[in-house]
Symmetry: C2
């Protein structure tokens, strides 16, 4: 049997499932719809992945592993806090503009099943903020940055980067702009967010 054939079928299923799950979520997605998207028979989904739940988990983990290592690398690099903030905001926003369904998909499914985070935490490359915490504590002690808990700073960085994508429909309504103008605002945020954060924590001499 052609080895190439079944691997393409298997990965074709995964890609189709990714598109459908990310658009509709686990509960909203239909197995038939995924099969149609992949252009194959529905029974193949079960042949390769057994059940909807397992197919979903394969998609979810793959999506999560697209983002987690990026974050982990930056948190544990030897860069300064400022450089970490700059590189994370620029990288993350650039990446997510290309994959707009990703953050909402992950957040939505984790809210549906919060226990799932424990599975992810035991995997390699799950981000840790230990090094970042030490860096912040040192700079606060040195009087370089304003007193702030590393956890709060971390939450702020994540919020400012992720929320504009997840909250897009709401924010577009509130600030009353069309899709094109909103995309423009997101582009600006690649640099805007980092300077906002740095201004917030830096002590002027």
């Amino acid at each position: 049997m052609n080895k190439a054939k079944n691997t393409t079928t298997e990965s074709e299923i995964l890609n189709a499932a990714k598109r459908i799950f990310q658009r509709k979520g686990m509960v909203g997605a239909r197995m038939q719809e995924i099969a149609d998207e992949a252009g194959i028979n529905k029974a193949m989904l079960h042949y390769y992945y057994r059940s909807k739940q397992l197919l979903f988990e394969a998609v979810f983990k793959k999506a999560f592993l697209l983002l987690a290592p990026q974050l982990n690398d930056i948190l544990n690099s030897d860069d300064s806090i400022c450089d970490k903030i700059k590189s994370f905001t620029h990288n993350y926003i650039s990446f997510v503009i290309k994959h707009p369904y990703l953050p909402n998909f992950i957040i939505q499914e984790l809210n549906r099943n919060p226990e799932f985070i424990k599975d992810l935490m035991s995997e390699r490359h799950f981000p840790t903020i230990e090094k970042f915490k030490k860096q912040v504590a040192i700079k606060v002690a040195e009087g370089i940055i304003r007193p702030i808990k590393a956890e709060q700073l971390f939450i702020n960085i994540m919020a400012l980067n992720i929320f504009p994508f997840i909250g897009a429909p709401l924010l577009k309504g509130f600030i009353n702009v069309n899709d094109k103008t909103y995309k423009q605002l997101l582009e600006e945020r690649k640099t805007e967010v980092a300077s906002f954060i740095i201004n917030a924590i830096k002590i002027e001499q």
Copy 2:
């Protein structure tokens, strides 16, 4: 026929639907589950609200109207920018700690059906940021606050306040804390977020 009886039934349905929809979302919720939660027959849901879609819309609009006027009042008050930031963050975080499913519910459903925001925008009390935009422009021109587009500042305020609730499962995993500790962090944010934002925009003399 007892007038009190049917009005309580109707509102009992709405309350039960609110609980189920907010926990499970539109697609995850089951009409039978809502009926059980309300302790009445499933046919009553259709008797009072015709269809799942209409029941959902009633719940959604009610939930939205719990938050929108709060925001609108603050945006259009005569307070200074700083006071607006302080009162919004404090009010919003206090309110949402009591209704933890609310922000995720609204954001999730707006992402499922982004067109729905147009319905909401035509309602009274839909927040407008015009006054806030003027205030920011003036203070920037006067050199009181750092140059920033009001839209970006608004997105930042919303992000810093809303995301910690929506992203809770993910953030708890990343910063590796239990529910109790995380709740403590949220409490701190009632004041922490406002000073973070004000530090970010204020020009030191």
